[in-house]
Amino acid sequence: MSTTVKQALVLAFGGLGLALVILRLARRRLLTTRYAFGWLGVGVLVMLAAAAMPFVGKLGKVANITPTAVLLMISSAVLLAISIQLSISVSLLQERLRSTAEAHALLARKVEELEQRQANP
């Protein structure tokens, strides 16, 4: 069995494994639909990459690097993109959480003021 075929098999099973794990996490409601879909997409992409292995080999030849290096580069780029996207999401959530916490504190104070006014009209 050639290296390319072995790599294609690893990718195909890896993608399938990822998709199964994601489905399980989604069913246990540990992942929201949005992220479950995103990661399922990644799983499908990995499986498609398995089918595209001959193309990766050609790309490696053109760039004069091994197919393994091409795969590593592509996977690193995908992981980096996902990390940046997650950082954007976390930043947004942080800002929303902050606004909510501030609004919560101000509302709690308003309730206290109203209760005091009611007790001593």
């Binding site: 902050r98 101000l106 104070r109």
Partner: protein, 240 residues
Amino acid sequence: MKVLVVVPAYREEDCIADVVASILARGYACVVVDDAGGDRTAERAIAAGATVIRLPINLGVGGALRTGWRYAISHGYTVAVQVDGDGQHPVGHIGELIAAMQERDLDMVVGSRFADGGSHDGVSLVRRLCMRLLSAILRRSAHVELSDPTSGFRAIRLPLLEQFAEEFPHHFLGDTYEAELVAGRRGYRLGEIAIPMRSRQGGKPSADIFASARSMVRALVVLITGPSFDIRPRTSEGHR
């Protein structure tokens, strides 16, 4: 002019009561924003007579301050004075901050340790150099003359106060240096008065040599990427 003193407090149970008492003794309304430190800061501030807003989670000084600014706006205050909860700021000088604001028509007045007459005692060389660099950046890029840009003893009036109630940074150095940079660039009038700062009366110092290094990095990042927030420019009619 209706003045509210806003005290952001994080684990200041040792000295908050004294700070609140000395603010109230001078006739100012006082709101303490307890930044979820998990100690008895809120209880002691209430016992001392302050209005207390309790944040449900720790947001840092910027978050506590924006909450204070919002409270000030919703209760009809026209000037908010920030005083730290650690007893470091000379509450007796609040009147001078407000007087300077009126006499010099300023939107924000900062109490400075380094302005004329201010003492450099107890401030490390690294921290002083750090302040000078931040001051130089403010002068060059916002035409603002402030010798103590990270001072948290200051008065802010409408309409700048309203702008800060909408948008106010919560990361390190954002609530001081970056807020001044943005306000200066947006045409608000900033000035300072000399203030003798006392050493901390209790609690844990948040600024140290690492903070100086961090502030330098942060200031450079702001210069490269631009400020993390923006406000509406000052209109020609100025304050209301």
